[in-house]
C-alpha cells in the first residue's frame, strides 16, 4: 500500500472534517480566551517545575511500587501462609480504600504523630520528614504495590509448573529457578498491562496537590486563585495530562514491539 493509500484509509472525509472542527476549537480557545498569564516568567517557571514534579513522582512511584509488588505477589502465589495472609490483607486494604484517604492518613496522621517523639525530631531525617513529598511518594508507591501485587500474584501462578520442574531438573538452585525462569516469565506476562497501569497512576498524581506538593495540578490551582481565570488553567492542565498519557502509551507500544511475543 502506498503512502497516499494509507493516508486515505486512515483519514476518510469525516475525519478531515472532525480534525478541522478540532483545530477550529483549539484556535478559538487560543485566540478568544485569556492566556496572558502564560507570558509571565513567574508562571512559566512554576509550570515547568510542576510538570517536572508530576513526572518524577510518577516514574519513581511506578518503579518502587513495582519492585515492592514482586515479593508481595510472589508470597501470595507460592509463599507460606504467614507471609501470604498479610500480603493478601495489604492488597485488600490498599484496593478497598480511596488513595486520597491513604494519602491524608499518612500525611496528616503520621505527620501529627511524628512530632510527639523527640528522637524523631532530633534525627537527621527530620528535615525530610517535615516536607510533604516523602508522604506523597510513600502513599503512591504503596498504591502501586497493592494493585500490582495482585496482578503479579496471578502472573506468578500463570507460569507453567513444567517450566519450574524442568529448571530444577537441570540442577538450578531454588534462587536460580526464581531469577532465571519464574520471575522473567511472570514479568513477561504483566508487561502488556503496565502501560495502562502507568496511565492510571498518572491520573492519581494530582492528588498529591492536596498535601501541598507542587505538581502541575497545584500550579494550575494557584494560577486560578491568583488571577481568577477559571477555564484556561484547567484546559492547559487537561492538555498536559493528555500529552503525558500519549507519551506513556507510545513509549510502551515501542517497548512492547521490541519484545518477543511468545510466552511459554
Amino acid at each position: 500500500m502506498s503512502f497516499a493509500d494509507s493516508i486515505r484509509a486512515q483519514m476518510p472525509l469525516r475525519r478531515w472534517v472532525m480534525a478541522a472542527i478540532g483545530i477550529g476549537i483549539i484556535a478559538y480557545c487560543a485566540l478568544a480566551l485569556n492566556w496572558s498569564w502564560l507570558q509571565t516568567p513567574k508562571y512559566q517557571g512554576m509550570i515547568l517545575e510542576g510538570v517536572w514534579n508530576t513526572i518524577w513522582i510518577l516514574v519513581v512511584t511506578m518503579v518502587l511500587g513495582f519492585i515492592l509488588a514482586i515479593p508481595i505477589g510472589f508470597v501470595q502465589a507460592a509463599g507460606p501462609w504467614y507471609l501470604a495472609r498479610p500480603a493478601q490483607a495489604f492488597c485488600t486494604v490498599i484496593r478497598g480504600t480511596p488513595l486520597l484517604l491513604q494519602l491524608w492518613l499518612l500525611y496528616y496522621g503520621l505527620g501529627s504523630l511524628f512530632p510527639m517523639y523527640p528522637w524523631i525530631r532530633e534525627s537527621d531525617l527530620w528535615p525530610i520528614l517535615r516536607q510533604a513529598w516523602p508522604y506523597a511518594v510513600l502513599a503512591l508507591t504503596l498504591s502501586v504495590a497493592g494493585y500490582e501485587g495482585e496482578v503479579m500474584r496471578g502472573a506468578f501462578k500463570g507460569v507453567p509448573q513444567g517450566q519450574l520442574e524442568a529448571a530444577r531438573a537441570f540442577g538450578m538452585s531454588r534462587w536460580g529457578v526464581f531469577r532465571r525462569i519464574w520471575l522473567p516469565q511472570a514479568v513477561a506476562r504483566v508487561l502488556p498491562t503496565i502501560g495502562g497501569e502507568t496511565v492510571l497512576q498518572m491520573k492519581s498524581t494530582p492528588l498529591v496537590a492536596t498535601i501541598t506538593v507542587i505538581d502541575i495540578y497545584a500550579v494550575a490551582s494557584r494560577v486560578r486563585q491568583d488571577t481568577f481565570i477559571i477555564y484556561e488553567p484547567l484546559l492547559l492542565l487537561a492538555l498536559v495530562y493528555l500529552i503525558i498519557a500519549g507519551v506513556i502509551v507510545a513509549l510502551f507500544a515501542w517497548f512492547e514491539s521490541r519484545l518477543p511475543k511468545r510466552i511459554a
Binding site: P12, R14, R95, T97, P98, L100, Y217, A238
Partner: protein
C-alpha cells in the same frame, strides 16, 4: 502511647451522638453511597448506549465515542470534575438566563453524580463492548431471522447473554466509583472523606478519623464483593462449568 486511655478517647470521639462524630461520619457514608449509586446508574446507561454505538453505530458515531473514551481515560478524574462542574454550571446558567430565568446553584450531589457518571460511562462503554462481543453472532442473527426488532434483540438476546461476561468488569467499576467519590472532597462536597477531614481538623485526631473512614470504606467494599459474587452466580446459572 497506645494505652487504654488513648483508645477510649478515640472511641469517645467516634460515638454516635455529639460530642462524638459518629453521626457525621455515617451521614458522609450515606452521601458517598448515594453518589456512587447515582453515578453508577448514569455510567451504566451511558455505557450501554456507548457500547451499542461503538459496535453498531455509523463511522462518525464510532469516532466521536472513541474520542470520548480516550479523553476520559487520559485526563485525571480530579481535573474532569473541575472542568465539568464549572462548565456545566456555566452552560446551565447561561441557558437559563437566555430563557429569562434566574441563575441556579447546582447541588453538590447532582454535580457529583453527573461528573462521576460521565467518567464511569467511558469505562463502562469499554467493559460492555467487550461483553457484547462475547455473545455468539449466530444467536443475534437467529433472533434477527425470527423477525425481532433491534430493540427486542437487545432486550431478549444480547443483554441477557452478555451478562456473565460483563459482571466482573462492572463489579470492578463499582469499586472504582465508590473510591472516586472521595475526589469530591477536594471540591468541598460532604462525603465520607470530607466529613472525616472536618472532624479530624476540629479535634486534631487525624489518625482516628481517617482510620475510621478507611474501615467504613473497607466494609463497603467487602459487602459489595459479597453482593457481586451472588449476582455473578445468578447470572451464570444457565452456564455449564467448563464452557460450551
Amino acid at each position: 502511647m497506645a494505652d487504654g486511655s488513648a483508645l477510649s478517647a478515640s472511641l469517645d470521639l467516634l460515638a454516635y451522638s455529639p460530642p462524638g462524630w459518629g453521626a457525621n461520619l455515617l451521614r458522609g457514608l450515606g452521601n458517598t453511597v448515594l453518589i456512587a449509586l447515582g453515578a453508577y446508574g448514569v455510567g451504566m446507561f451511558l455505557g450501554t448506549l456507548g457500547a451499542f454505538g461503538k459496535l453498531y453505530g455509523g463511522p462518525l458515531m464510532r469516532d466521536l465515542l472513541g474520542l470520548y473514551t480516550t479523553m476520559v481515560r487520559a485526563i485525571p478524574e480530579l481535573v474532569l470534575i473541575l472542568i465539568l462542574y464549572f462548565a456545566v454550571t456555566d452552560l446551565v446558567n447561561q441557558a437559563l438566563l437566555a430563557m429569562g430565568y434566574d441563575r441556579i446553584q447546582i447541588s453538590g450531589v447532582a454535580a457529583g453524580i453527573m461528573v462521576l457518571g460521565v467518567v464511569q460511562g467511558a469505562y463502562a462503554t469499554e467493559v460492555l463492548r467487550g461483553a457484547i462481543q462475547s455473545v455468539p453472532a449466530g444467536q443475534i442473527e437467529a433472533a434477527r431471522a425470527m423477525g425481532m426488532s433491534p430493540l427486542l434483540v437487545a432486550r431478549r438476546i444480547t443483554l441477557p447473554l452478555m451478562l456473565p461476561a460483563a459482571i466482573p468488569g462492572m463489579a470492578n467499576l463499582w469499586m472504582i466509583v465508590t473510591k472516586d467519590t472521595a475526589l469530591l472532597a477536594v471540591v468541598g462536597f460532604n462525603e465520607l472523606v470530607q466529613e472525616s477531614r472536618q472532624a479530624a481538623g476540629t479535634t486534631k485526631a487525624f489518625f482516628t478519623f481517617f482510620m475510621a473512614a478507611g474501615v467504613l470504606f473497607l466494609c463497603m467494599s467487602l459487602v459489595s464483593n459479597q453482593i457481586f459474587a451472588r449476582i455473578e452466580a445468578w447470572a451464570n446459572k444457565g452456564n455449564k462449568r467448563g464452557g460450551i
